[in-house]
Symmetry: C2
Subunit: 220 residues, 2 copies
DNA sequence: TAGATTGTTAATCGATTAACAATC
DNA sequence: TAGATTGTTAATCGATTAACAATC
């Protein structure tokens, strides 16, 4: 960003972790930190920290290190967390309801402002203090209200169509909890959360681990 | 794995996606596929597919491609999905309840067999058809039953202690939904799901995007 | 046989780590 | 000034892509 070049995903995905550690340091009233000290706490190299931060600017000072409060604010700004985002939920099932009721998102500026579902039994009910609307009203709602993000907690199959609707209506980002890859025509930004992929990674590692243990045991 | 060397995380994280696409092909009664055809469907290079698969074995045939059914079974085996896993839930709040009630996990062989909480109002109630037990019984339960995975849906702060308890009791994998990094002494496998990190990545990209758009507009 | 497509080696690209001059 | 630590360049490492001989 400093020199106009695009930042790699690897770097971006580390930023929330920096933000979290810096917040913890602030809570502990630690006012300055060196890349070396932070690297030991985080279990990464000091080089990587300095490289990562220098993509965005020169936030440190030779011989001193980094001012924690200042760096925290910078990372917050880089992550776009010094503003708020209007989020709508599409798919007001159990999972969606948990998202809306989770206060961690509001705390960081992600405000759920509306919810939609296609189930007549759910439409009209309240989730948190939001009244669930019919998905048929989706385009209309987005055109009349500022919506930054659409969280899609929908079954596979319908999610493709719904993602097209919200993208066409002008949503900037999609937070996709389904397993389907969304193929969208426009330049909407998609962030996927795939719980099944995650637990499969775990089962892979458990299996791999057991194969290795067995191999070691067989040597004896 | 083929030659005993450890597979990189990059490759492992792509496996569930291959598995998904192969399953879709099976559903469509497609019996053979070339790396080129699959690469176009998935939006990656054919080279990468062949490289990835060849870490584990030679599943294709020159001039023919891959047998979908066979490859599907191989990837299933590699991911450790040709067996089942006993999963316990620690933290039976809203989020945990959604996990237990989500049938996608059972469908792939991840069976929730017990749930624990420290809230006296929750202990003794039923989640799905599982009776929630007191966390005090955690070590005892794990020692008397086979537990492969502990899903931790707990607030930051307590999760560190609980993860130590389940790791010491002999759980093989931890599926961690809290924001805390778990520092564990043993060789337990940890897979993190961090929803806040995920949505922060989204807000980063939205902000970056808006900065770019503004820059382009200013040129005009 | 001719065409297709793999498995694998080599080339390229990108990300991480190391080193160090600049400087607080 | 001496010590510490950054920002940045160079070296290394690893992952992705390209190329092609092997072969179905």
């Amino acid at each position: 960003m400093k020199d106009g070049r695009k930042i790699s995903t690897a770097v971006i995905r580390r930023l929330p972790r920096y933000y979290r550690y810096l917040g913890d340091l602030l809570d502990k009233d630690i006012t300055r930190i060196s890349s070396k000290d932070l690297s030991q706490r985080m279990g990464i190299t000091a080089s990587q920290i300095r490289q990562d931060l220098n993509h965005f600017g020169c936030f440190g000072q030779q011989g001193y290190g980094y001012n924690v409060e200042l760096l925290y604010q910078e990372v917050k700004h880089i992550l776009g967390l010094d503003r708020s985002y209007n989020v709508i939920l599409v798919g007001a099932g159990n999972f969606g309801q948990v998202l809306i009721n989770n206060q961690n998102f509001a705390k960081r500026g992600f405000d759920f402002v509306a919810a939609f579902d296609n189930n007549p039994d759910v439409v009209g009910t309240n989730v948190g203090n939001i009244k669930v609307m019919d998905v048929a009203k989706l385009t209309d709602y987005i055109s009349k209200n500022r919506v930054d993000i659409a969280a899609l907690t929908l079954p596979s199959g319908v999610v493709q169509d719904v993602s097209k609707i919200v993208a066409d209506a002008g949503v900037k980002g999609i937070w996709n909890f389904s397993h389907d890859d969304l193929r969208l025509p426009h330049d909407v930004i998609v962030e996927n959360v795939r719980l099944t992929d995650s637990i499969m990674t775990l089962s892979y590692k458990i299996s791999e681990d057991e194969i290795l243990r067995r191999a070691v045991r067989d040597v004896w």
